[in-house]
């Protein structure tokens, strides 16, 4: 893609994001429940106190004025104070981003490796037992709700077997200095192999829970794309050239089969963001998803607005990524 075309694509994001902002802002305002009431919690606060709190939080102004203010501030990266934390929203959010990024990357890795490998195997041994097992598993994986699967995993591995932790990111004893915020990286940078393994153990269950649905989807996409690719003339021609089976499978067929798979993966990563909220809550994972869920319960308008905007930007960028990857894997496409 030419730099000019890329800039054009990025400019196209602005109206999309503006639209999302409008929806999020007014949806939050329409939701029943008053943050002031929720914050004070009891009836003894005087009406004057309520009023002054309302003014502090900027809730005394009419909704359209608040929206204009919000837009102006958001454009300069300023999202106001989190009601609950009494700290700038941007600061509260950035603290939580690395945990979510780490969880998402781990889930994606699991989903890509498991999904593509099983998809290829199922396609090559079409209608064999691997294919049947993988197809049934993927059906279960797609249908099973994340929170339920997560609880099952906790019950089995944390409660019954006691071999993996049920919640959190790392034991307190293993804490390491903040560098990237990704514990798997930071522990290695600090030279703490014990902490690394501990962080890894904490990551396994939530990442598996989150990655399962995506793995199932990628397996199905890869399987059908591989079956299609293996029936093409270029595979017969590659065989007639005397190439090895491995080269035909992994270079000739898979390179073509990955076109839909990679596109699906990039788009599906957006779905992972949504899954984060549930999985982080189930596993007590201190990430953005759980922060947002808490924010919604406490009517923490500024926090939720900023977080949703961040999700939206990520989602839209992931779609752009999908297009770029599609072009990389498919030389016939010029963006």
């Amino acid at each position: 893609m030419s730099p000019l075309r890329l800039a054009e694509r990025l400019l196209q994001l602005i109206p999309v994001l503006l639209g999302i902002t409008v929806i999020v802002f007014f949806m939050m305002s329409l939701t029943p429940g008053d943050p002031v009431e929720l914050m004070l919690g009891d009836a003894r606060a005087t009406p004057e106190l309520r009023e002054s709190l309302r003014r502090d939080m900027g809730l005394d102004k009419p909704v359209h004025e608040r929206f204009v203010l919000f837009l102006g501030n958001a454009a300069s990266g300023e999202f106001g104070m989190s009601f609950h934390h009494r700290r700038p929203v941007s600061q509260v959010i950035w603290e939580r981003v690395p945990a979510t990024v780490e969880l998402t990357l781990a889930s994606m890795t699991i989903a890509l490796v498991a999904g593509i490998l099983l998809g290829v195997l199922a396609a090559v041994r079409r209608d064999g037992w691997i294919d049947r097992v993988a197809t049934v598993t993927s059906l279960v994986g797609v249908s099973m709700p994340g929170f339920w699967f997560g609880i099952l995993l906790i019950l089995l591995f944390a409660v019954t077997l006691g071999i993996l932790p049920a919640s959190g990111r790392i034991d307190y004893a293993g804490e390491v200095p903040f560098v990237t915020g990704l514990l798997l990286v930071d522990t290695l940078l600090a030279g703490r192999l014990d902490s690394f393994l501990d962080a890894l153990r904490h990551l396994i269950l939530p990442a598996t829970t989150l990655g399962l649905a995506m793995a199932a989807l990628l397996m199905r996409v890869t399987r059908s794309a591989m079956i299609e690719a293996l029936a093409q003339d270029y595979v017969t021609f590659a065989e007639a050239k005397g190439l090895s089976r491995a080269r035909i499978l992994f270079r000739h067929a898979l390179k073509n089969a990955l076109i839909p798979t990679v596109t699906a993966a990039a788009i599906e990563t957006g779905t992972l963001l949504g899954g984060n909220m549930i999985v982080e809550t189930v596993f007590g994972w201190p990430g953005l998803g759980r922060l947002v869920v808490e924010g919604i319960f406490t009517r923490n308008y500024p926090l939720v607005q900023a977080a949703v905007l961040l999700y939206a930007i990520t989602y839209v960028l992931l779609n752009l990524c999908a297009d770029l990857l599609y072009a990389t894997f498919n030389p016939r496409v010029r963006l």
């Binding site: 003339d233 017969t236 090895s244 080269r247 498919n330």
Partner: protein, 320 residues
Amino acid sequence: MTPFLAIRDLRTTFHTRQGVVRAVDGVDLDVMPGECLGVVGESGSGKSVTFLSVLGLVKPPGRIESGQIRFDGRDLARLTPTELRAVRGRDIAMTMQDALTALNPALRVEEQIVETILAHDRLPRLAARSKALDMLRLLGIPDPERRIRDYPHQFSGGMRQRVMIAIALACRPRLLIADEPTTALDVTIQAQVLDLIAAMRRDLGMSVVLISHNLGVVAEHCDRVALMYAGQVVETGPTRAIIDRPRHPYTQGLLRSMPVLSDLDRPLVPIPGQVPSLVDLAPECRFLPRCGQAAPECRREIPLLSMGEAHAARCIRVAA
């Protein structure tokens, strides 16, 4: 002269839900060193499956039921997959009907030709690349240093066909099986590609099997012709003999249905009826339902009957 490739009583079947399809049913064919053999027949006559069988490329539900494929003192039908892989591309190469689908759209031409060379020769990558460039140059692809970096879709139809032939010939095989090399091409480019294959045959001293549904194309380029119908060879012989004295009613019908430039007033006569289903064939002449000269004696298995000069036809009239 001993044949270089000898197919004897080859039977390839496809086991489908409708029954057993006898795609190749007792085919005998010889290819002599350096010759060009034309194999002619309509779709479903078994001409492509015969040569896919030679390379062991028939995929399930198809399989080689019986027969021998003698090549170089070995029976290709009995080789292990690894042994067969060493023959493919190195001793016997194949090109396909449409280069657009035969070339991998996601890989550069460079990779597709270099990997063929490296599959058979232990060479440094750079040496393989320069061999690849030589091959592209030999096939008349302009500016090969630049074009080798392109993807198949960036070539024109004729150039793409040349690229495919270059890949097939990259290891200098002794036999090229060209499956419908011109069908996907414009008429003007067809002649170029056929001349190119003829030139390569001379330059590399290889044998060529030209598979086509077009008797005209084959007649112009081949020393000998074999006509296939419903999984069997129905007539075989030197090209001249087949054109001048066709003995099988199918061959005669094909020739009558072909336009001749020198005699455009001659009416074209199509062959009535259609190719029979290859499931549950009765033991009789397969051309019987479409034959204008059928007799009661045709209701039995007819062998290929020789008329001398290596000319033979599967018709009772030959004996008479």
